[in-house]
């Protein structure tokens, strides 16, 4: 199970869109999630879902996010019930969870249907030096490294007789590895940084990207549509 979603290779209509229009789509989703009325947020969530289906993103990739959201939802409900009573508490908690779900979904779609290098190229096109434009991309790539390290530590513990069948066992196994995980991830990060430098990263003021991005008429229409829709939903 992926802890953090990575780019999902595909050739759907959405995948082919320019990263700038995808970013606007994401921002529209976030804006409605933050500023819209609950009905608008629900509508936006449905719009996001339709786009997710169009991009053929596998539902299994949302498992971890759904789990995190469920835990957050339970916490929110408990807190709201304590401070605002049953009816108001449930309504407020439900609204907060809906907004959070909309935000998370929009973000997960952006990272899953946008190639990381396209995001870097977007920065370069906007005048950001490639050394800085590529940093967030490489930072996102660092997350699977941490996942790999965590998996390695768990496998190592398993090989030494630890078992992780129950939640209690998992927690018991996880706590002692937090510090080593951070240390090992830092070590990996250092090695990656060395590999990047010894491959010439940052020497010249520009570099050749294998990919290219272009803002087409379809991108323009999609972007305009999303801007109008989010405007309507927020002011509705």
């Amino acid at each position: 199970m992926e802890l953090f979603p990575q780019y999902h290779n595909g050739d759907s209509w959405i995948h082919r869109r320019d990263p700038r229009s995808k970013t606007v789509f994401f921002m529209a989703g976030v804006a409605v999630a933050l500023a819209g009325e609950p009905k608008s947020v629900t509508f936006m969530f449905l719009v996001l879902m339709v786009h997710g289906i169009m991009a053929r993103l596998p539902p299994a990739r949302y498992k971890t996010a759904a789990l995190v959201l469920s835990v957050t939802a339970v916490t929110l409900v408990v807190v709201q019930l304590i401070f605002n009573g049953v009816v108001t508490g449930l309504i407020m908690a439900g609204e907060a969870v809906l907004r959070l779900a909309c935000f998370m979904y929009a973000f997960m779609q952006l990272v899953q249907w946008t190639h990381p290098m396209d995001l870097a190229l977007m920065g370069v096109k906007m005048g950001v030096p490639y050394r800085f434009a590529m940093l967030p991309v490489l930072m996102v790539r660092f997350i699977p490294v941490m996942e790999r390290e965590l998996k390695g530590i768990f496998e190592s513990q398993y090989a030494r007789g630890e078992r992780f069948d129950s939640t209690r066992q998992k927690l018991r196994g996880f706590l002692p590895v937090l510090l080593p995980l951070v240390l090992r991830s830092l070590k990996c990060g250092q090695e990656i940084a060395l590999a990047m430098e010894t491959k010439g990263f940052g020497y010249a003021s520009r570099r050749t990207f294998l990919r290219d991005i272009s803002f087409t008429a379809a991108d323009g229409l999609w972007t305009a549509g999303m801007v109008c829709l989010s405007g309507l939903l927020i002011t509705y």
């Binding site: 990575q6 290098m117 995980l181 010894t198 990263f201």
Partner: protein, 483 residues
Amino acid sequence: MIKAIIKSFSYPTGNVVLRDMDIHIPAGEFVVITGTSGSGKSTLVQCLTGVIPHFIRGDLDGKVEIKGRDLSSLSLPAISRFMAYAGQEPQNQLFNLTVYEDMAFGPGNLCLSRDEIHTRVEWALNFVGGRHLAGRQPDTLSGGETQRCALASYIVMGQEVLVLDQPCRELDPEGRKMVYDNIYQLHREKCLTVVVVEDRPAELAGLAGRFLVLDDGKIVIDDEAAAFMSHYNLAELGLSPLYKSCPEHFSPSAPPKGQQKKCGADHGEPLVQVEELWFGYKGDSFLFRGLNLQVFSGEVVSLLGPNGAGKTTLAKLIGGILKPVKGVVKVNGTTGYLFQNPDQQLFGSSLWDEVAFALKRRRISPDEIEKRVNRVLEIVRLNDLAGAHPYTLSRGQRKLLALATALVMEPAILIVDEPTGGLDCRQADLVAEIFTQFSHRGGSILMISHDPDLVKALSRKAFLLHGGSLREVKPDGTFPAVS
């Protein structure tokens, strides 16, 4: 081409790692740097490539020049334009989404045209025999595949100096020969300067022109290839394993008196039984379709096969780390597991804590823990370093420590993945001795290894894993060709 005068180098911890070095490597020379574990080979090449002092801090008293330019005045990206440095750990040298993108990363930084980048990437992947890996995610590669791709990601940049720290450590014998032959061809055709760090220099005898041997941070031998191979006994220098020269220790047919136990297929229940095993990673086709294997008490069974055949996956299935899709994996007894990459196995704050971890979790009495940990650390000869942090050890020592974490549980079955990879010859001899003693006491070992001498010395049974099926082969030190 390379001129290095290093009076001394020490890490911030204070210990002097290199001393009294005066090295001159002319353009177009093929040099092998060798020596036992911890002799300073990797530190030396880090000095020769500018990684020290630009990236790794320490007190360097000396100067390294390449083509008359002082490396301390150039940045690492600037040095990378004429010198490739492929470090020891291939796992973290690939960091893009696909292998192809990783190949294109360096040439992209050199501002080459896209056509040129595509041509070079194709060439580099062919160079290491990894064309089929282009579309794979680096995280899904096996150890050997990762090393091939990491090497290619440097060679693709086309520099005039190649500095490679154990570039074939994780490769199968066929792959090692191919890569070293290709490096030699490249050196001849383009007159490249090549510096290779290699623990077992014999296999480079026909390729390299000069050998430097390090011991305790000093160059003790600097000789032409022909003179080096004829004047020195590699085994005495600790540069060739002794498996064959000590049959009384290493022949499984002659266990020491008092330690003899029945072993082999004719004696009772198997310790490991794999029946009709089916397995495939999520989203991939089946890697194994109905695989069968038995390992009996006292047996050392070798698992051979090319990189990416699924040897580690099979070992993890037997070790219980992975679950089969279909079929049965029965293991009668405790399992000890030695990972291919020891760093995946170590997370303690000291050697003692690392080894004691499993025992503490089992709530064994402190006295017993003390006794067992000390005994195991003594077996792997790391007892003097019990209080040190695992990351301060050399790779060979880390591997021995990882082995200690498996041995301390007193397992009935040891599953070991490339147990001598990254070890110098003396350490490899020690591992062979430990395994022999272990099997003579009735323990079983399932061993994945690309070390033909080790397989021949220890195993009486070997299986070739290829194309998802197992075939029994003779453990005679030759690796059946599969390509």
